[in-house]
Symmetry: C2
Subunit: 354 residues, 2 copies
């Protein structure tokens, strides 16, 4: 179980440190876990002058899985665009062919108050968003700035999907739906965009291989609305890279506690990159205040999806549930009557619960 | 005041009928209003075989403003794509050069319970979303389906903005911000898409002409999240066609009562198309159940933006506030203790309040 660990920037090193403690416990209990660190994002730039250094690339290519903290920080905002931290993230996704991004939006009962939505609307919320991650307008060519036929400045990007790109993400989504409630909603804008009309056709075609799954379709604008109106109507959602970027962030915020939400980005062989859904939070970096639970839960997803260690994954997830039930809270999820803990304090609690 | 009236499909004719009654009152009180009807969408297809018939086009081109009900219905879903109702909508926007779509998201105090969000998060909500409506990936060329270099089927669309397209929507947005709280948030994905990097640069450039307006920038994924987390941080938002489609629907649903929300789509000279933000609701069509208030409020926007009749606009808006305060409610916004009325019953109440 070779794991490349990329602490990244901001709170990244702190939250990764706590996830490492959790993995250390599992190793002591017999899992053959090997960890090695490398810089990504701003840390990559600081060390090697680029956000995805060759050193990091080599390590990640050789590893079975990658555990990432977060990237980005204000000190990198004035760098040339290709050198900025988020380019490291886009580069590693593309380099490792991590086309399937899984982003759960789960409301923990203990944290129900954190949501800005009424309890009856979100209690029990458990959505899995499957976002295609290496195609679409993120990577489509041609792209750039130039001058149009009228001699005017313009800029353009290309939304593009090939059949195989859509097929493989469809299979991932149907596979996940099969393991859950067998309900899959594919999100498109087929009334306007040919790319997503094509997407929809292929979803319908792949659905024939999963007769038990009930496939539905929704326009992206309506999906953005329905997530607010009645999010519990959804179980698994699948969509392209840019719509998935928007909807998965919206869905995660429905829970009110994105400090709790992990994510996985998988390739064809379940090699994966695992990271919290939240960002690098430069404002609280280095202060031992961050919530490490999303990173710890990302490690649990890694145990499940890349290594097939369902039992170990559940053990970690149950430890997180235990510490919530015990009332431990970092600042982002704190409420009166609970016990406020630091980032490492939360790590202590999880290790104890393990 | 020549107004082309396009009832459209579904509940369109019913809600338009009530808005006409409101305009009739204003005409009797002295406004030189002339109304003429034409079919659009499915109604256009039924009458002339196309969703935006020439008859309708001529009327709309000659008019000062267009009042639209809604388009679309299941009976048109199997038509060839170019014949479908929503193509009529896209065609009229492009034909009349209606590049500025204004979509308010306002929470009426009397309807605060309708929101799925907690009252303290949404009470007093009043956001104006300015969406560019005739450019972006909706209309960008090239687009279509084909076969790529690897011989595989693919589909593609082009996101594209020229400088003048961005400049003119920027001026509309800054102009509106000047009349409100002088806070404008431009939404982009400048960390990934050159088109929106270009958009952002031009926003910053235009901002120099509006030194009193505080311009901020936000990534679209974060905006989708912030609308859920703390929507009252926003006053005026401006964004491109596809992001605006998604975010304006999300924002309108925050109010819980999209049956109340009007919209305007303006050209360079304030000629405009006015329509409710909601759809054609085929399930309740013909039953006299629909909420006509969004359409009536759209007529008020028309009086304000196209005809500069602020007083008449306020008179209509105040009449709507009055009927809400009196407790009249159509089914979509009904709650215990209020008086349920039909579509025409709500029209009666508004006419009485006028
Ligand atoms: C940082 C950015 C490039 C990235 C994306 O848009 O994919 C982020 O928003 C995400 O969702 O992981
Ligand atoms: C019907 C559709 C083409 C349209 C759009 O996407 O613009 C609608 O969603 C809207 O927002 O008016």
């Amino acid at each position: 179980m070779k794991i490349a660990v990329l602490p990244g920037d901001g709170i990244g090193p702190e939250i990764i440190a706590q996830a490492r403690r959790v993995l250390d416990v599992l190793r002591q209990d017999g899992l053959p876990i090997e960890l090695e660190e490398a810089p990504l994002g701003g840390a990559g730039y600081d060390a090697y002058g680029v956000p995805y250094p060759e050193f990091t690339q080599k390590l990640c290519r050789a590893a079975d899985a990658v555990l990432l903290g977060a990237v980005g920080g204000p000190q990198y905002d004035t760098l040339d665009r290709p050198l900025r931290p988020e380019r490291g993230l886009l580069a590693i996704r593309k380099d490792l062919n991590l086309f399937a991004n899984l982003r759960p939006a789960i409301l923990y009962p203990e944290l129900a108050n954190a949501s800005t939505l009424k309890p009856e609307v979100v209690s029990g919320l458990d959505i899995m968003i499957v976002r295609e991650l290496t195609g679409d307008i993120y990577f489509g060519q041609p792209r750039g700035m130039g001058v149009n036929e009228q001699g005017e400045r313009e800029a353009f990007n290309t939304m593009r999907y090939s059949e195989s790109e859509v097929r493989r993400i469809a299979h991932v989504a149907f596979g996940i739906a099969m393991k859950r409630n067998k309900k899959l909603c594919s999100v498109d804008k087929a009334n306007v965009l040919e790319t997503t009309e094509f997407w929809k056709e292929i979803m319908i075609d792949v659905a024939r291989e999963y007769p038990q799954v009930e496939l539905s379709h929704m326009y992206v604008d309506n999906a953005a609305m329905q997530l607010v109106r009645n999010p519990k109507q959804f179980d698994v959602m699948v969509t392209g890279n840019i719509f998935g970027d928007i909807l998965s962030d919206e869905a995660s915020m429905l829970t009110g506690s994105i400090g709790m939400l992990p994510s996985a980005s998988l390739d064809q062989n379940n090699k994966g990159l695992y990271e919290p859904s939240h960002g690098s939070a430069p404002d609280i970096a280095g202060k031992n205040l961050a919530n490490p639970l999303a990173t710890i839960l990302s490690a649990a997803m890694m145990l499940r999806y890349t290594f097939g260690k369902e039992e170990a994954a559940l053990r970690v997830e149950n430890a997180v549930k235990t510490v919530l039930a015990q009332g431990y809270r970092t600042g982002d999820i704190f409420e009166a009557g609970c016990q406020k803990v630091s980032c490492s304090g939360m790590g202590d609690a999880v290790v104890a619960a393990l």
